[in-house]
Subunit: 533 residues, 2 copies
C-alpha cells in the first residue's frame, strides 16, 4: 500500500523537459561551459583551458578529410577523436572551427576552371551528330570530364560529411554541427557559411530519405531511456509528470516516432495523437479528458503535438512524411476514424501583432509631432487601420479611467504587454479583446506572407502538406506559453484525404491558402457582423 502511494507520488512529480531550442541544443551537444564535463568523452571541462584544443580538433578534421580511404582504422580513429573533441569545444571555438571548415575546405576553383576550359574545347557538335566510332570515344571522354567536373565542384568538406555519415554516430554529429552553424548564421550570415549550410542540408536530405526512416509507435513498454527523450524533447505541450506521460501513451492516445538506424534510441521527430469524438477546440479537452473515451467511439484523430528533436535537421521536412504515414496507419488500424485534424499553436502571432502595433504607434507619434498634413491621408502605405471602429470604441470604453486620452492602439498595446498578462484575468477585457484578436489572427494566418508562403511557421508546415485552415479557437491554450505565443488562440488544420494533393499544389504554386468559411469570414469587409464566430 505504501509503495503504491509512493509510486503515485512519483508519477505525479513535476518533470522538466528541455522545451526550447537552445536547451535542446545544449542537451545534444554538451558544452563544457554550460554543464561541466562533457558527457560524450573523458575530457576535462573548462573553456580555453580544456585539454582538447581547437588546434587538435582542427587537425583531426584535416586528417579526416585528407586521409586515404583504405586507412580505415586511422580514419575511424580520427573521426572518433573529432566527434568527441568537437562536442567538448566551447561555443566560440566551434564557431571558429565552422569558419575554418567553410573557408579552408571550399571548392578548389583553380582545378574547376582548368577542367572547364578543357571541357569547353570538346566538339559537342560531333557527338550530337550520331553513331560513328569516333563519336563514341568523344562521348566517353565527355562523360569522364563531366564526372571529374562534378567531383571538382564538390567543396572539400563534402568528403568530411560523407565520411562522418558513414561513421557510427557521425550522423548525429552532423546534426549538431548544422545546429551550431544555424546559430552562428543568425548573427553572421556570410556567403561561405550559407554555402556550407546549403551543402550540408542537401546532403542530410538525401541521407534522411523517408524510406530510411522507421516508424515506431512509442508506448509505455518502451525503454525509459527513450521515454526520457520524449519528455525532454516535447516542444509543444510540456509533459508535467510520469502520469501525464503515461496518459499520452495509453488508451485513446498514440505517439509515433521516426527513427533512423544511425541515431538509435531516440526519434528524429515524433507526433502525439488523441482519438476523440470530434475535433477538439481547446488543448484542455485533449490533455485532461480523464477518463478517455472508448477508442471504438472515436471518429477524429487529433494531432496535438509534433516535436523535432534535432535542431540541426531544421528545414528537412520529416514531419510531412511522418503525418502521411501516421494517417495511413491510423486509417488501417482504426477504421472508425474519419477526420484527421490538428490542434496547433500559432507561434508567430503575438510577435507579429506587437510589432504591427508598435509601428502604428510610432507612425502616429511622428504624425503628431512633425507632419500634420498626413492626417488627411490616414490610410497611406505606412499607416493602416488595424482596428475596426467598433473595436476601437469598446477598447477605449473598457479601459476608461486607466488610460485616459490614449488611442485604442496604445491601450491595446499596453494591455497585451501588461505584466503577467493581467488582461486574461478580467472577463470584461477578455470579452472586449476577443473580437480584434481573433480577426487579426485570421488576417495574420491568411494574409501575412513571406516569399509567398504563410509567415507563421506552423501554418506554413501544415499548408504545404495539404491541410485546410479550419478553425481559429479562442482561449484554446490559456497556459502562460499559449498566451505568450498567440494570446491563447489555437488553430485546427484539417487533413482531408481527397484534397491534400490539390491544396498542397495550389499553396506551392500560388501561395493560395485553403480555409473554411468560418475563418474566411473574419476577413470580410465589416458591417456590424463581428460576433459571428
Amino acid at each position: 500500500m505504501r509503495n503504491r502511494k509512493g509510486l503515485a507520488v512519483l508519477m505525479r512529480t513535476p518533470m522538466r523537459g528541455a522545451a526550447n531550442r537552445r536547451q535542446l541544443l545544449a542537451a545534444t551537444s554538451p558544452l563544457p561551459r554550460s554543464n561541466g564535463a562533457s558527457s560524450s568523452g573523458g575530457f576535462q571541462d573548462g573553456d580555453d583551458s580544456c585539454k582538447v584544443s581547437l588546434t587538435d580538433v582542427k587537425e583531426w578534421m584535416r586528417q579526416s578529410i585528407s586521409i586515404s580511404p583504405d586507412k580505415f582504422e586511422s580514419l575511424d580513429a580520427n573521426l572518433e577523436e573529432f566527434s568527441k573533441g568537437y562536442l567538448s569545444l566551447s561555443v566560440e571555438r566551434r564557431r571558429e572551427l565552422l569558419f575554418a571548415l567553410a573557408r579552408d575546405y571550399d571548392v578548389n576553383r583553380t582545378r574547376v576552371r582548368e577542367l572547364m576550359q578543357q571541357y569547353l574545347k570538346i566538339e559537342f557538335s560531333r557527338i550530337e551528330e550520331g553513331n560513328g566510332v569516333l563519336d563514341e570515344l568523344l562521348l566517353a571522354a565527355c562523360f569522364r570530364m563531366e564526372r571529374n567536373l562534378r567531383d571538382a565542384l564538390k567543396p572539400m568538406y563534402s568528403v568530411f560529411f560523407e565520411r562522418l555519415n558513414a561513421h557510427p554516430g557521425g550522423l548525429k554529429i552532423l546534426a549538431v554541427l548544422r545546429a551550431d552553424l544555424l546559430l552562428v548564421m543568425e548573427k553572421e550570415n556570410m556567403p561561405s557559411l550559407r554555402a556550407l549550410d546549403s551543402y550540408l542540408k542537401e546532403k542530410l536530405i538525401t541521407w534522411l530519405s523517408p524510406a530510411t526512416l522507421q516508424l515506431h509507435q512509442i508506448t509505455w513498454d518502451d525503454p525509459a531511456s527513450l521515454l526520457e527523450k520524449i519528455v525532454a524533447y516535447e516542444a509543444v505541450h510540456p509533459i508535467r509528470s510520469l502520469h501525464d506521460l503515461r496518459r499520452r501513451l495509453s488508451i485513446g492516445r498514440r505517439c509515433f516516432g521516426y527513427f533512423h538506424p544511425a541515431i538509435p534510441g531516440e526519434p528524429l521527430i515524433f507526433i502525439e495523437v488523441a482519438l476523440l469524438k470530434g475535433v477538439a477546440k481547446a488543448i484542455q479537452e485533449v490533455l485532461w479528458d480523464d477518463p478517455p473515451i472508448l477508442e471504438e467511439e472515436a471518429t477524429c484523430a487529433l494531432f496535438y503535438s509534433i516535436s523535432s528533436t534535432q535542431p540541426g535537421l531544421s528545414c528537412i521536412n520529416l514531419g510531412k512524411f511522418l503525418i502521411k504515414r501516421v494517417i495511413e496507419l491510423v486509417r488501417r488500424d482504426i477504421p472508425n476514424i474519419v477526420v484527421f485534424a490538428t490542434l496547433s499553436p500559432i507561434p508567430g502571432y503575438r510577435k507579429w501583432l506587437l510589432s504591427k502595433l508598435a509601428s502604428q504607434l510610432k507612425l502616429a507619434n511622428m504624425e503628431e509631432n512633425n507632419i500634420k498634413l498626413s492626417e488627411t491621408c490616414s490610410s497611406s502605405t505606412f499607416k493602416e487601420r488595424l482596428l475596426l471602429p467598433d473595436e476601437e470604441r469598446s477598447i477605449c470604453d473598457s479601459a476608461k479611467g486607466l488610460f485616459e486620452g490614449k488611442s485604442a492602439i496604445e491601450i491595446l498595446e499596453k494591455l497585451l504587454t501588461s505584466l503577467n498578462n493581467e488582461w486574461t484575468r478580467s472577463d470584461g477585457l477578455l470579452g472586449t479583446l476577443k473580437s480584434p484578436l481573433m480577426r487579426l489572427c485570421a488576417r495574420y494566418l491568411l494574409n501575412e506572407k513571406k516569399r509567398g508562403k504563410a509567415l507563421d511557421p506552423v501554418a506554413n508546415f501544415h499548408l504545404q502538406n495539404g491541410a485546410t485552415l479550419e478553425n481559429i479557437n479562442w482561449m484554446a491554450d490559456p497556459s502562460e506559453k499559449g498566451i505568450i505565443q498567440s494570446f491563447g488562440i489555437m488553430v485546427n488544420y484539417v487533413y482531408r484525404l481527397e484534397g491534400i494533393e490539390e491544396n498542397a499544389q495550389s499553396y506551392f504554386s500560388t501561395g493560395y491558402i485553403t480555409a473554411s468559411w468560418s475563418v474566411l469570414q473574419y476577413l470580410e469587409k465589416p458591417k456590424e457582423a463581428d460576433d459571428a464566430e
Copy 2:
C-alpha cells in the same frame, strides 16, 4: 511419434537454393518469361503481349522525372506504377528502357556550357584578395553559380534515382535496375551505359552507408520468410535441408546479416561463422562436425560463407564493413575466440588454369607446324614452362597407355577437363596432380593480377580488407562445385587484428599480398622440395 518422424523427414528433405547470380536475379526481379505471372504486381504474363507496354513504363518513368515535387501523391503513384511495370517487362524491353534512360535523361550539355561560360567570366582574383564588401558579393555569386553548375552537371536520371530512393520499395527497384544494367553491359559496354552505371553506383554507395545498415544475428527464431531467403541466397555452400539450415544457426555457429530499413525482411549480405578449435582446412569439418564442440572451447571464428543477395549492389563493398562489425561483436561476446579466419573458395582458379593450358597448347601446336626455330627459345614471352620437370615426368608416367605420345600439358588438360572429373576418383592421379595444382594455385593467387589487384575476386575481397593469405588446402571442398571452381582447393585467409590496416594499406597502394611462409614457399625456385606442403 509419427509426427516426429514426419518432422524429421521434412527437416532432411533436400532444398534448392538459387545458387547462381542469374537465378538470384530472376528471383528478385520476376520476369514474365521465366516464371509466369509477376509476383509483385497483378499484371498478366507474356512477353510483348503483356498488358503493360514499354511505352507505358517509359511514360511512368518520364512522369516520375518531370513531375513537380509537391505533387507527391501523383509522384508516388507514378513511381509505384513504374516499379510494377518495370518488373513485368521482358529482358529485352528492360534493355530498351535502360538505353532510353541513359540516352534521353543525360546531362543537359547546352545548359552546362552556358553556365560554364558565365562562371569563367567571374574575376576570381578579386575574391581571393580579401575582405571588402564587394568581394563578399562576388563570393556569394560564385557559390550560387557553383551550386547551379553542380545541379546542371547532374544527369536528369539523377532525380529519378533520388525519387525512387525516397519511395517505399524504391531502393530494391534501384538494385534490380542496376543488376539488369550490369547484365546488359556484359554484352554492350557503351559509354552512356557505363556513365549511367557509374552514377547509380555512386548514389547507392552513399545511400547504403554502413551507419544505415543494421547488423542482425539470424537465428532459428527468425521468421520463415527470412530464413527462406537465407536458403535461396546462400551462394557458397548450398543449404541442403532444413536440418542443415538449423545446424548453421545453432550451437557453435553464427549467422549475421546486414539489413537496410528500406529493404525489410531480407539481408543485403550475410555471413556464416563456425566456432571451432582451430582453423578448419576442409569444408567438411565445418559443415558436418556433428555434434559441435562446446562454444567455450572454441578459439577460432571461421567465416565459411559470405553471400550477397542483391546482384545490383555489386562493387559496393558491404562485406568489408560486415566482417569488421562481426569480428568486433564476436570478440566482445566470446572472449575465448582469438583467431578470425575464413575458409574460402577460389572461384577463378580453374578457369584461369584451363585458359593457360589452352594457350600453351596452341603455342606448342603453332611451333610444331610452322616455325621450328623457336624451339631453341622455349621461354619466350608467350611460351612459358607451367610445369616443373618432376611434375611433367610424373604426369606422363601416371597416364601411360592412355595418352601415348602426348605432352604433359596436353595430358593435364585432358585429365582436368575429363567427363565427371574422373581424375578425382583415382588416388594415383590425385597424388600426381596435387603438386602442380597446389603450386599453380599459389601462383594464381599471389602473382596473377588485374590492374594491380589479385585476379581472383574472393582473394581481392579479403586482401583489400586486410587479411593474410594463410593456407592453401588440398581437397578442402571435394563437392562437384568445389572441383569445378578450383579442383577442390580452398584457402584460409586470416584476419590478424594488429595487421589489418597495414595489410590493407600496402595491398591498396602497391598490390603487395601478405602471405604466410607455407604459401610463399610454393613460389620458391624449385630444387627438389615440392612435397613440403
